[in-house]
Symmetry: C2
Subunit: 220 residues, 2 copies
């Protein structure tokens, strides 16, 4: 009850929906949860995990510190939950890519958004102090998506677009993950999705990738 009252002390600050009547079954406390998790994610991106405090999250969410502590055991749990929410919001109906070109186009579109880039860098930068954050991200992103990457690479191999002896695990887990990390660390944040996709295709070319349409001009 206290939590509900506390949540009412300030605007959730999420959407303009506070003006419209709340639908039944969506309690006030869920609005506070969303406001807190959104504030936590924003601060994680802006300041990083180390510089984010429960106090700042409460202030930005428009709730008291006590409200935050009643819902989350501490900063790490709060940030982990914020990451989970961020991910569930991102394309929940995703069922895979059509082919390799489609996959890299999707990756490039994601990496062309500066906010996504900063979040990914924040996560890789927290390995030593907040290992739970990186683990959460890998769990949410790693499971099904990783299987789709392998499927795309295996299919390309079967189509003759990749060498028959390609190791899809080394390619997917090590080389392509590394290519993403390298792009985040060494390329400017204002590259377009087209430029980023071209970056991935340059790398794939070095791995022997030759799109089926230009197969006649393969490998010298």
């Amino acid at each position: 009850m206290d939590a509900i009252r506390s949540a009412g002390q300030g605007p959730p600050g999420m959407t303009g929906s506070t003006r419209t009547p709340r639908p039944p079954g969506r309690p006030r406390s869920q609005e506070a949860d969303t406001a807190i998790l959104t504030a936590a994610l924003d601060l994680l991106i802006e300041l990083g995990a180390a510089q984010t405090s429960i106090e700042q999250v409460a202030r930005r969410a428009g709730v008291t510190r006590a409200t935050v502590y009643r819902r989350f055991a501490g900063k790490t749990e709060l940030l982990v939950r914020a990451l989970e929410l961020a991910n569930h919001d991102h394309d929940p109906d995703f069922t895979g890519w059509r082919d390799i070109e489609h996959m890299f186009g999707d990756w490039a579109a994601h990496l062309a958004v500066p906010r996504h880039r900063t979040l990914l860098r924040r996560l890789t930068g927290t390995v030593d102090d907040y290992p739970e954050l990186g683990r959460t991200y890998r769990l949410v992103n790693g499971g099904q998506r990783r299987a789709y990457v392998r499927e795309m690479l295996s299919r390309a191999r079967d189509l003759g677009e990749l060498p028959t002896d390609v190791d899809v695990d080394v390619l997917g887990d090590d080389i392509l993950t590394g290519a993403v990390l390298n792009h985040l660390g060494t390329h400017p944040d204002d590259e377009s999705a087209d430029e980023i996709k071209a970056y991935f295709m340059r790398i794939m070319k070095q791995l022997g990738y030759r799109p089926a349409v230009t197969k006649g001009r393969q490998r010298i």
Copy 2:
């Protein structure tokens, strides 16, 4: 003069050399510099740039905060100088590698030291808040070393160990840098140098690398 007196207020805490007479021409203020820079590098590795303060550096170096501020404009300059020192200490006579195997053996030996791994992760994690740190590291490490990497890759291509159409820039700058970043982020810190070298060789195999000695069994 003040700086010299301040430096005398506490032990530099570097080596046991405070007991032995200082050689002529090595002023006390250089000892304080070294103590400050060593403390700064240690704290950068232990806590990260955001959590490191001038006050902590001064305390660990055994000098006053004023001494640190007289020598360095602020935290960023201090950390940049500490990084430069760390790098100059690391194998100043380095003139390149014999071949690719030697190069990856050297990288693996470096990456098998947890302290090196943490420092590299700290640097990649500071892109958004302390871009000068990453820039410094790339300047010191990037220039000559990058040229050596290209030379090794070009030589391997000329020996027939890499495909004739290999792009040594994409391979060196993007794929291999990415492979290092991926290892730092996704592999445990207790892997041996042998295991890490094997990781690089697995990646090189996907890039068509076939060592000259086993050339008869190349590519299926």
